[in-house]
Amino acid sequence: MSNKVIENLYYTKSDEWLKVEDGIGTIGITDYAQDQLGDIVYLEKVEKGKKLKQDDTLTTIESVKAVSDVKTPVTGEVTEVNIKVIENASIINKEPYVEGWIAKMKIENKDELKNLMSAQEYSEYRKE
């Protein structure tokens, strides 16, 4: 079971991570999530400029034997999309936290960060 967790990120119960820098949030899925999914083969296109509320579906991710929604951890507008991951979704399996980021968002409401978990909390939450 793979469950690497990175410090100083925010985490969701649906296994997304969020990195916050200057009001911009970078979103990806956790190591635990990629391990559960197995070989990731496809990521539905994310639309730049799209406005999403916390918990809305950002995109859908497909592996050989599973399909899962990626939820947005915070409300905001999509400012950037990782084209590399759209073109080659298996990057997420290899590097979920760095190269495997999916999209960046302009965070609208910082209060929402309170609903998210810390690295330690998430690690506890996904402990076997």
Binding site: M1, D39, V41, Y42, V64, K65, S90, E128
Partner: protein, 501 residues
């Protein structure tokens, strides 16, 4: 193995052409120029001998039910009696044209008519339609009947309740039928949570789709309460008959209050799976829903002593297919029911329930049951305990193949927290105690191997014609036809041994 295309030798043929090819008529006289293909479309060029050897060799790469146990949970892989095949392939049946005059197909119509009556008695329903070709097709037809019923009563509803343990076809069919799917959680006993059901069931909901015993093989003892809750809000109860093999002669869905039922004739009723069909997914309904059945149905005119295909009427949901039914599957079903009789049907369910509980009792020390209670005709255990050795349920399944058996269903059903890493074993009535004992021994042996030599499992299977497949590559480098392969010839570089085995 080599593809049929790779066995082609130019100039070989496997077909005998009639002597008279009407050479006196020219092609231009009968077909317009805009439609004639330039040249011949390339298929393969092999002799009849080549074809027979090719497919015989291919068949040997398969594992069939006549090779041994096929304990796939939720699939009811029972013995397919040979007499069924003979009787379904009588010349008078297989050469019967579906639009031949009614007086020439009285035999076909009689079978459809009689089978309808037999299935009504077995399940406690009022009328069946034979049209749907498979379980999911029957589900769609059944859901469209429910929809039409409500529309007809001016009562527009939008939601369908489906337990989290249901087959994927249930939510997919409900969505095709235009409904929003609302999931009902199971409780710790593995059955429908009645409180939640009562909360979710409202007047915007057409009803509940239920499999009983459910997909973990457990009888829903709350069925009377469920019936009251759903009917209490004016909803309809849909019965997914995938697991009817546990109920024959014991309980009938019609008596339990179900309004629509689909039966998988290729499960409970012994018709072969054929590598994934054809089966048949006939549906039965209660009296109030008869007018909505697909068209046509078969009626009997007792004055003329004649059977007819007749239009179901203006309330019908319409046709769900071309022509009438997967007729040859119906003949096999009819034959099976007549060969079993009432006692045989009861014996079928009794034996399959004893079989499943026997397997559960013998395995539970080694594989933790998803629910610690007696099961119906299939039992669900888990491979969770072996995760700590780096072994997944998948590995256990693959290892079973090395012992010359087909593995059970794995990872279905799947919902947290009870049904994880599931192994669902369905040993139908046609499996003997000796076969079950052998299967149990192998499962126990594998549980030991998981602890002592996990690698044996994670690299299994070792003794099958091929070994584990790269499923991700199949998607990333999609080769869906031989022509796709030819385009990639340089990149692929197969050695002779890779394609000729």
């Amino acid at each position: 193995m080599k593809l049929i295309f790779e066995k082609t030798v130019k100039g070989r043929d496997g077909y005998s052409l009639p002597q008279d090819l009407f050479d006196d008529i020219r092609i231009e006289e009968c077909l317009p120029e805009y439609a004639i293909n330039k040249g011949k479309k390339l298929l393969s060029e092999v002799s009849e001998v080549d074809v027979v050897r090719h497919f015989t060799k291919l068949s040997k790469l398969n594992y069939g039910l006549d090779d041994g146990i096929y304990p796939l949970g939720s699939c009811t892989m029972k013995y397919n009696p040979k007499i069924n095949e003979k009787l379904a392939s009588l010349g008078n049946f297989i050469y019967a044209h579906p639009l031949a005059p009614e007086e020439t197909v009285q035999g076909c119509l009689e079978i459809i008519y009689d089978l309808n009556k037999l299935l009504c008695e077995i399940t406690g329903m009022d009328e069946y339609t034979m049209g749907p070709a498979a379980g999911a097709h029957g589900e769609l037809a059944g859901i469209l009947i429910m929809r039409k019923y409500f529309v007809d009563h001016g009562d527009i509803r939008h939601k369908m309740l489906i337990p989290d343990s249901a087959h994927g076809t249930n939510p997919a069919s409900a969505a095709m039928g235009g409904f929003q799917v609302v999931e009902v959680k199971s409780n710790e006993k593995g059955t429908v949570d009645l409180e939640e059901l009562a909360k979710l069931m409202d007047e915007d909901t057409v009803g509940l789709m239920l499999t009983n015993p459910n997909t973990v093989g457990l009888y829903d003892e709350g069925i009377e309460e469920i019936e009251k809750i759903v009917h209490g809000k004016g909803g309809l109860l849909y019965y997914d008959g995938a697991n009817l093999n546990a109920s024959l002669g014991i309980i009938r869905p019609g008596d339990a209050g179900f309004d629509v039922v689909h039966l998988n004739l290729h499960k409970t009723f012994s018709t072969p799976h054929g590598g994934g069909g054809p089966g048949a997914g006939v549906i039965g309904v209660k009296k109030d829903l008869i007018p909505y059945l697909p068209t046509p149905n078969v009626t009997f005119n007792s004055n003329q002593k004649k059977y007819y295909l007749s239009d179901t009427g203006e309330k019908s949901i319409g046709m769900v297919r071309a022509f009438w039914a997967n007729f040859s599957v119906l003949v096999k079903t009819y034959t099976w029911i007549l060969s079993m009789g009432p006692d045989g049907l009861y014996n079928t369910s009794e034996t399959s329930i004893i079989n499943a509980n026997y397997v559960l009792a013998k395995l539970k020390k080694y594989y933790k049951p998803a629910y610690d209670r007696y099961c119906g005709h299939e039992c669900t255990v888990t491979g969770r305990e072996y995760k700590k050795y780096g072994v997944k349920t998948l590995d256990i399944a693959k290892r079973i193949m090395d012992y010359g058996m087909h593995p059970p269903t794995i990872y279905f059903p799947h919902f947290e927290p009870y049904a994880e890493e599931t192994i669902m074993v369905e040993p139908p009535e046609s499996e003997s105690k000796e076969t079950l004992d052998k299967f149990i021994d192998i499962m126990i042996k594998i549980s030991d191997e998981a602890k002592t030599n996990p690698e044996l499992l994670t690299t299994a299977p070792h003794n099958t014609p091929i070994r584990r497949t790269n499923d991700a590559l199949a998607i990333k480098r999609a080769i869906l036809t031989y022509d796709d392969e030819l385009k990639l010839k340089d990149e692929l570089k197969y050695q002779e041994k890779d394609i000729d085995f």
